[in-house]
Symmetry: C2
DNA sequence: GCCAGTATAGAACTTTTGTTCTATACCGCG
DNA sequence: CGCGGTATAGAACAAAAGTTCTATACTGGC
């Protein structure tokens, strides 16, 4: 086992500690983490992690988690198209907004799907768009859902009256679906995103 | 000056330190930060910060930055609507994606605007949508731009041939615009997002 | 102004954390 | 197998970080 590959195997373990505790380990904690008996061994390891950039140090030598490189990609919402623009000074005072925070309420139960068909085109959902889909939510009338009908996956408006379920497209070239057999709603569409360039 | 308001005045200073260094200060650093001479004073302050939740402690008493509440809102792209779903095991192996990272290439030159009109409805941009707009990009033919034409702000497709500029709507109920006087293109639409609920 | 409670100072003390040094074991290469 | 370099152990040492205690100053309410 080469020293480099051993280091590389250890990095994920270290990163998991940092994620779990929100900080770097002490030498004693490194010792426990990697089941070594000597603090000196832990210290040598720490030196390697520092060289590799996965740990940092304070001016006094204390181990710290590396600085987060994440440049925040937060944007300002300036207003509406028709209303035009605030002044640069006014703009600078506006709060910034993360799209993740804006669009994703329940990350654990949300996933994304690519749209390929055009059955919802009149709802402003185009082929190539990406939809956010939330599981575990009972669909209400008018919600857009991802469902498996008679063995096929589809995205449609959901309407239910009594026991009667209709799945309606937003495209006159497609027919309303009334599921005969198994209908499984996988999730409700909670958002749509499109990257243009 | 009540103790509480003094504490509240100090919190932003502490938070700036944490942001700048990516970690909590030691007592000596707190001392310097707030120009107090006694480490004991700094320690008492630290206790207050801990009570207030703006600092934490390790099991050994060390001061740490509070745990980031930001649950990462990263989602998995499972595939396409028509293709259906991977198995749970396969799903767990998929990488996660941040919408901020996906949609925002140049945060410093990108801002958001609300859409209120329906002139781009056939392009899948509905009233209530939010568009991302990038400044400092020369628009290419077919780009959607935010422009000020004859003193009015609008969003349209941009086409240029020679010196002739056309701004085309994506809605048959609106006319093509050929700017007579000043045309100022504020930015190019780089993304569209819609929150559905 | 007086008084109680809090804030601050200063210093000694304790614990934690990392460093230094010596020694042995392990590994890979020729 | 021998050897050099690296990994690991163990323990003493030094510095950093926090705690405890005593004392004084400050603040706000009566």
């Amino acid at each position: 086992m080469s020293p480099r590959s051993r280091l590389h195997e250890r990095i994920p373990v270290l990163n998991a500690f940092i994620r779990q505790h929100g900080r770097a380990p002490t030498l004693d904690e490194l010792r426990a983490l990697f089941q070594v008996r000597s603090k000196n061994t832990a210290s040598v390891m720490a030196g390697r992690f520092v060289e590799a950039g996965v740990l940092g140090r304070t001016a006094t030598g204390r181990l710290v988690a590396p600085r987060q490189q994440a440049s925040p990609r937060r944007l300002r919402l300036l207003g509406s198209v028709a209303a035009g623009f605030p002044s640069p000074a006014e703009e600078a005072l506006l709060d910034t907004l993360s799209l993740d925070e804006y669009l994703v309420s329940n990350p654990e139960s949300t996933f994304m799907l690519r749209v390929e068909g055009d059955s919802m085109i009149e709802a402003g959902i185009l082929p190539g768009d990406t939809v956010l889909v939330e599981r575990g939510r009972a669909p209400r009338n008018g919600d857009i859902v991802i469902a498996c009908v008679d063995g096929e996956w589809t995205m449609k408006y959901f309407y239910k009256q009594g026991r009667d379920v209709r799945l309606e497209p937003a495209n006159a070239r497609y027919a309303t679906i009334r599921p005969r057999q198994r209908l499984a709603v996988e999730g409700v569409v909670s958002g749509v995103v499109r990257k243009l360039g």
